[in-house]
Point group: C2
Chain length 334, copies 2
């Protein structure tokens, strides 16, 4: 039996089954999430994002290992890679090879490879993170391939976001850096034994000066419906992302990275940033659920024939998509 | 003055201004799109996607150059890179350097770098493509960084989707390939003078056998509200993506790639696939506009205070996000 209580009790099999239910956005999963939700809000959510080839996965493994061995924390890893079912297998395969982690009952690794899952990948990820949080995992690491907007959006809803780079990944990487730099609380230059590490670090420093990351909470975490987030407790101090060198295959620099994460946590706690990020994350989730609920109501109030007719008129260029949508909305009782 | 008529007349400045209006999703832009829409449906939309470092941009430039010089076609390029304002500049800079294209009045290049634009990047891109289509551009190339779900979604709404790979981009690339392979009509191995090109091609062939791309139209272009797309004209023939080697910096293989695109077009026309893709694209757009319209109605019918109270209850873990959303939906008249 998979009950919310079994998850709260730390039963591993119940946890695995519950994750599947909430990932599938099933009715049972939703009801369970309602029961689990009051037990959330304790985990430290760490987002890790970066372009392919930066060695994110092995870095995440090393982080998890450190939190286990040095701090005895319970660690969950959510590996978000929407590209394919194939990839899901690949990521998982990589994990399984990580002997130091597998078999440890206080580590749980979940691969989210469900392209086009009901309710969207962001929602599925939020649900899975909530289950881990309620189940008492101290640290939940959400790892995403950071080249895409949706993946970046997922990573930046964490309390602490690491952006991983590596030397010598080609010209285009440079451009991507600029974009995801804005969401970085900590920058990691992984594969730091590679040639070009100084150049990568230098480029990051230059871009840091351009990006003004301290302002990002206001700039990017826009508020819904014009409700401003409470700013009064903020700006007591400004957070400047540090740049950490690591060689994840050897474990080099991991302890220093964990220290940097702890410093960021302390900053968030003292500045009011922790509460603001909690708020933003839940606001984004609430809005997504509202959108989904509205669409469901609309589907119930409109016939498939009405939609089909509207679409046909658009295909024949009789009306524009915008007019067709407005007509459908007028006709609906939703 | 920027009028729809001026755009239809081919006035370049009017076109540039109109693109800004529709990209910003302004009221004026929407009204103009209504007028322009009946003039759309003639352009060949080509999506080009691939991971960073594959040389997509220079490949797109070469394609555009070929269509201009060999076929005298009017070509628009929409470069979608949601990562940052910085990147927008970088991409544009790259274009400006492309001397062969700049100054040609029958080429128009638009960089979409508008993170978090109103209505979303997919909608903005669709609008911009419609303007180019109405303005009489024969070929509209939509270029995206293909590592993210949203960018892949944008690229696959084209008539013909090219997925660009390159040899020697590291281990993670392999995983990404599998995902975007499913959306490829044509696979391009760019930078084919690099070592490892045989391995890349071999890996692609192996994955092609796994991916069954011929079925993708049904599998991935799911229908809205259960309305099945007309299948009767399909499956007369099966399209197997070809693999094309190019060296875009030298223009090598571009003519052959253009031939492959023409073959795919002929296949789409004869199989009914063209109409099906048109339908899918417009269906996706109609649904997105519906979602936006529903949210707008909801905002009008709900007070900011009611939303704020609901959010506060969630933050304090009194109710789950799902319950809060349901309560708000019940209270709203939308």
């Amino acid at each position: 039996m998979t009950t919310p209580q079994a998850v709260l009790n730390g039963e591993r099999l119940a946890l695995a089954r519950m994750l599947t239910k909430v990932e599938n956005n099933s009715e049972e999963g939703r009801l369970a999430l309602m029961e689990l939700f009051p037990h959330t809000g304790r985990a430290h959510l760490i987002g890790v994002t970066g372009a392919p080839g930066t060695g994110k996965s092995s870095l995440v493994n090393q982080l998890a290992l450190h939190y286990r061995k040095q701090q005895n924390k319970r660690v969950a890893i959510v590996a978000v890679d929407p590209s394919s079912p194939f990839t899901g297998g690949a990521v998982l395969g990589d994990r399984v090879r990580m002997r130091d982690l597998s078999g440890d009952p206080n580590v749980f690794i979940r691969s989210m490879a469900s392209r086009g899952s009901l309710g969207g990948l962001a929602q599925s990820t939020a649900n899975v993170v909530q289950v881990f949080d309620a189940a008492g995992f101290d640290v939940v690491i959400v790892e995403t391939v950071g080249a895409g907007q949706s993946e970046v959006d997922i990573a930046r809803l964490a309390h602490t976001t690491l952006v991983v780079e590596a030397p010598g990944l080609g010209d285009d990487i440079q451009a991507i850096k600029a974009g995801i730099l804005e969401i970085a609380d900590i920058l990691v230059v992984n594969k730091a034994d590679r040639p070009g590490v100084e150049n990568t670090e230098k480029a990051l420093k230059t871009m840091l000066e351009l990006a003004h990351p301290a302002e990002r909470v206001f700039k990017h975490h826009g508020t819904y419906m014009g409700v401003a987030a409470p700013k009064s407790n903020l700006n007591k101090a400004v957070w400047i992302p540090s740049i950490q060198r690591t060689i994840s295959t050897e474990g080099t620099g991991i302890a220093e990275l964990v220290d940097a994460i702890a410093k960021h946590t302390a900053y968030l706690r003292s500045s009011g940033g922790w509460a603001l990020r909690e708020r933003t994350r839940l606001e984004v989730e609430l809005e997504a659920l509202l959108r989904e609920g509205l669409m469901n109501k609309f589907r119930e109030s409109t016939t498939a024939e009405a939609f089909e007719q509207a679409l046909e008129a658009v295909i024949q260029r009789k009306v524009s998509p915008w007019e067709a949508a407005n007509d459908l909305l007028k006709g609906s009782t939703a």
